[in-house]
Amino acid sequence: MKARRKQEGRWAWRLTGFVTLCVYIFMFAPIVATVILSFNASMFGGFPMTGFSLQWYGKLMANEQVLTAFRTSLWIAVVTAAVTTAIGVVTAFALVRFEFPGKQALSTLVILPALVPETILGVGLLVLIKAIDQPRTMLLLVLGHILLAVPYVVLITQARMVGIRRVYEEAALSLGASRFSSFREITLPLLIPAVVGGALLAFTISFDNTSASLFWRPAGVETMPTQILSMLKISISPEINALGTVMILVTVGIPLLGGLVLQSLTRLKRRGEPKEEAR
């Protein structure tokens, strides 16, 4: 009897493992197919493979529209990441350290942009600027992206902030440091992982944003995702697969690289410091 039960447990576990494997395959198969197809020599964006070729990457590099959209998206994402990180980190600092009226309401309000569908946010902002008779500008688009990224930066920083004991800052203050320098010298360095993580996430959220950008972009401006969308309306050419592969390299490569740099930095620092007590 007991043996049979054990047997059942093992089968349940195997089933779990099997479904897990299937889910991972499900998540990555299309991406892998896209990357493989980008090297296809065939004229059509599909299987079978007819040979290895880099011609679609060459075509891509010569496509002025794509390059412009790429540059536009890149600088919007960089500005979004920088500004969102700055204002998000101080907000998280205030939300964790301070007690003030309306704090609870603000912490709820701040995660709303992540929960409200982008279509609604998109229409809302458009209706507002139509009501006050303003044109759609790049500034509007960037500020919109910042709004979409703020919840994530605040949440990541908050989670890290909770783990930093306030006695460190208070010690610095009691030793005569100013508010600002105690934040800069004590709190900020301890927050670095959250700051880097938040900035990277803000970058990808902006670089990736499609639905809201469709509403907010000024006339004639294409960001990378909207450019892809308009290319897809025409046909699925191998060029799009190449473009997808480049985008994957950028958006996956940057965070991975950032993570590696961060890790080696902390390791280097550790080496310089006196040994921590053995765990």
Partner: protein
């Protein structure tokens, strides 16, 4: 007479949160408020409306079954997607939590990687799998199982599949976070009292992981019901969801009052589900699930 600034002064807090607060007011609260007012404006012709107040938009929405049909379809597709996500997402979450595999971090990293890959790219990449020249059709034809490519794209199934693809990581992470917070000694205790592993799962692990599952279901439902890109890329015209309807009403027909009305409807309906959820579960689980 000015009060001296104290440590953790509320005034300093307001100063620190001011930029984010202003952004939220001008780009989130105010737009939704103005949009709500716009629902009562009069539509004249494409791109033109007057501020003469009318309930015509609401009347049209409430009486024309075209709109309610769209809404019901959107809610149905959102619900199906969320439930499928819950069923398929629980297994990996449980596996990652329970496995003794040394490189667990890799499994978790692989869940986060999709968040970095452009959503548009992840969606259109399904065309390479399901399309006429996609992996499945080409393989089946090579094997001689079918002679004509199967029409797998541009239908509701493809839309749900695409949404499943982008929502699964949210679900898995949500469930994983709540599994991770379970005190493992509880399960050991249940086992030592004579529970089989299946009983221990049913009586201890599953109930304790329900908050994460519920948060994941809500998140997937809201995101699926509000989606625009997936139906656009993987569905045919008939598979358009409410988000597409809003986009077409505003960008295509330039009927701003009606577009505003539809947006407010979606906002209220999804807000109702979110409110019902927070009423029973609280906000904290969603915060955790979003990366907090």
């Amino acid at each position: 007479m000015r009060r001296r600034w104290t440590l953790y002064d509320p005034r300093l807090a307001w100063l620190l949160v001011a930029p984010v607060l202003l952004l939220l007011i001008f780009f989130l609260v105010l737009p939704i408020a103005v949009m709500a007012a716009y629902t009562f404006f009069t539509f004249v012709t494409a791109g033109v409306e007057t501020s003469a107040l009318t309930t015509a938009n609401w009347h049209e929405f409430l009486t024309d079954s075209y709109y309610s049909g769209f809404l019901l379809k959107t809610l149905r597709v959102g619900a199906i997607t969320a439930v499928l996500c819950g069923v398929l997402g629980y297994f990996p979450a449980y596996f990652i939590w329970a496995t003794t595999f040394k490189h667990k971090w890799l499994l978790l990293l692989l869940l986060i990687v999709p968040f970095w890959i452009s959503f548009t790219i992840r969606t259109f990449s399904w065309i390479n799998i399901l399309g006429e020249q996609g992996v499945i059709n080409v393989s089946l034809m090579k094997l001689g199982i079918i002679s004509e490519p199967l029409p797998m794209l541009y239908n509701e199934g493809a839309v749900i599949l695409g949404m499943l693809h982008f929502l699964l990581p949210y679900m898995i992470l949500n469930v994983y976070v709540s599994l991770e917070s379970i005190d493992r000694t509880l399960i050991a205790a249940a086992r030592s009292m004579g529970c089989t592993s299946a009983q221990a799962f049913r009586e201890v692990t599953l109930p304790l992981s329900l908050p994460g599952l519920a948060a994941g279901l809500l998140l997937c439902f809201v995101l699926a019901a509000g989606s625009y890109v997936t139906p656009q890329l993987l569905g045919s015209g008939r598979d358009a969801l409410f988000g597409n309807l809003i986009y077409d009403t505003i960008m295509g027909e330039l009927n701003w009052p009606m577009g505003a009305t539809l947006s407010i409807v979606l906002f209220i309906v999804l807000g109702f589900f979110a409110a019902a959820y927070t009423r029973y579960m609280g906000m904290s689980q969603i915060v955790k699930g979003l990366g907090g």
